[in-house]
């Protein structure tokens, strides 16, 4: 497949990147590792005439356990000894993103910004033309929810739910300078709008509060194959515990909504309780209760909803030490 023609820009600094994006506006996309964007471009999905490559912006690449540059490579962060020691849930979650080969060029920022997915849309141009497209591509109707005015494509990144439960925030650079936004407020409903980035803005870094190191965290991912597949469900839990006593907790779900979905509201009644099999099951049911999941990824909504309860239960057993934290984040 030949990529649709574009002009490639290779800025050296964040300011140059912002200036280019401000200049070209909606006619330009950023590209970091390209493992999401170039796949979409090959399918002629919303390709732009200008592409601004961030690989040459050195400021974006560095990381430590308090901040991760948006351009840090997934494999580098995953294999970092400090990260493994202080925040092991991050390497565990990165270990289930795409594949070993893709993680060599895929970046953390690109992962947070990964496009929403839907099986009516992540298809070749030829295929999409046969259904006259959809809201997010060339068409004007949603193929998932009849008559819907908003796109329900699913947020399918693995890291965002984990980083949100850890209380991370992101630094954004734009034409008016820099601002910091909690990652939990970064994503916005609608599979087309997706996030709060405005004109000319890009992600610079992810900040992780040092307090996160004292929390126990777990991530579990449902997918068709053990390698390669985007999540059809991701459950992230981070908790402050004293043995099996739950002092505080955050739950965030990936791949069930257009954004990472916080379920903190559903678990407040369990704060201050001791966690055993029975309470962990109750938490699982509470988190799954009332979820609206659309039928637009590889597994059925009914099954994914059931697995929300199962994985949430397992995550709570993980964080209270009732169950060995999985060596990999799957299952």
């Amino acid at each position: 497949m030949i990529l649709p023609p574009f002009t490639l820009h290779e800025p050296k600094t964040v300011d140059e990147a912002v200036a280019l994006k401000t200049k070209f506006g909606k006619d330009a996309d950023f590209v970091a590792g390209g493992t999401d964007l170039l796949c979409n471009y090959k399918y002629e999905i919303n390709a732009k005439p200008h592409v601004i490559s961030l690989g040459t912006v050195t400021e974006l690449k560095s990381f430590d356990t308090t901040r991760i540059g948006a351009g840090a490579l997934l494999d580098d962060v995953m294999t970092d000894s400090g990260m493994r020691r202080d925040l092991p849930v991050i390497p565990a979650a990165i270990g289930v993103i795409s594949s070993h080969l893709l993680r060599q060029t895929g970046t953390v920022g690109g992962n947070l910004m990964v496009d929403t997915r839907c099986f009516w849309f992540n298809q070749s141009k030829f295929w999409r033309d046969s259904i006259s497209g959809c809201l997010k591509s060339e068409g004007d109707a949603c193929r998932v929810v009849w008559g819907a005015k908003e796109c329900v494509a699913v947020y399918s990144g693995d890291l965002a739910p984990v980083l949100i439960t850890l209380g991370a925030s992101v630094t954004i650079a734009g034409p008016k300078g820099r601002r910091v936004v909690p990652l939990g407020e970064f994503y916005e409903h609608d599979g087309i709008k997706r996030h709060v980035l405005g004109e000319g803005e890009l992600l610079v870094e992810i900040r992780i509060p040092t307090e996160a190191r004292t929390w126990k965290a777990s991530y579990r991912k449902l997918r068709t194959r053990e390698s390669f597949d985007f999540p059809v469900l991701g459950v992230a839990v981070a908790a402050k515990v004293d043995g099996d006593l739950l002092l505080d907790a955050h739950v965030n779900l990936g791949a069930v909504h257009t954004t990472p979905l916080s379920r903190d509201g559903a678990i407040s009644q369990f704060i201050g309780k001791r966690i055993d099999e029975a309470t962990a099951s109750e938490i699982g049911e509470a988190v799954a209760d009332g979820l609206v999941i659309h039928n637009n990824t590889a597994m059925t909504p009914a099954y994914r909803r059931k697995m929300v309860a199962v994985f949430t239960k397992r995550c709570f057993l993980d964080v209270t030490g009732k169950r060995a934290v999985a060596e990999t984040a799957s299952r």
Partner: protein, 180 residues
């Protein structure tokens, strides 16, 4: 829109410096295959999902189907053609003797993934080998022979570092008698 112009980039491929005119939207896979005649690197899915197009860029195994050619400027690229020296690399021999290749379409990608692993970790355990080839798909052999071939190559490379110990080389030959 008029098509963006080509630009000449310079990089090293298999130890040789090349200059080639590329379009901004060319991927490295196409440049290697169509401009430089290095057709050992295969196009499987063209979407990052099969690993057939794996090459090394400054020592890292990357997918050339998702790497813009311009990103190769100034870099050191190694393709499957760059492994023999001039004898086949122990991985290439091991894939043959272990029956780890059938149609062979996936083989260059697997070997490049395995080579990157052995460069980093001379004696990987089975789980590590599986993890490092998990970005590659084979539709013919199944994966057992491929894992075995990587183990065998790792043993042979370690032996090469100790060339005096002929008895171990002989023992390895006997445990892998499938040579043709």
């Amino acid at each position: 829109m008029s098509q963006p112009p080509k630009e000449v980039i310079k990089f090293e491929v298999n130890g040789r410096t090349v200059e080639v005119a590329v379009r901004p939207y060319d991927v490295l896979l196409d440049v290697l295959r169509n401009e430089l005649d290095l057709i050992g690197t295969k196009r499987g899915c063209d979407q990052g999902s099969c690993g057939c197009c794996a090459i090394h860029m400054d020592g890292r195994p990357v997918l050339s189907c998702l790497t813009l050619a311009k990103w190769a400027a100034g870099k050191k690229i190694t393709t499957i053609e760059g492994l023999a020296n001039p004898e086949p690399h122990p991985l290439q021999t091991a894939f043959e003797t272990c029956g780890a290749t059938q149609c062979g379409f996936c083989t260059p990608g697997f070997i490049m993934s395995a080579k990157a692993l052995l460069d980093r970790n001379a004696e990987p355990d089975e789980a590590t080998i599986k993890e490092h080839i998990s970005g590659n798909v084979c539709r013919c052999t199944g994966y057992l022979q491929i894992v075995e071939a990587v183990q065998k190559a790792s043993e042979e490379l370690l032996e090469k570092d100790r060339p005096h110990d002929a008895s171990v080389v002989e023992r390895n030959r006997q445990t892998h008698p499938a040579g043709r």
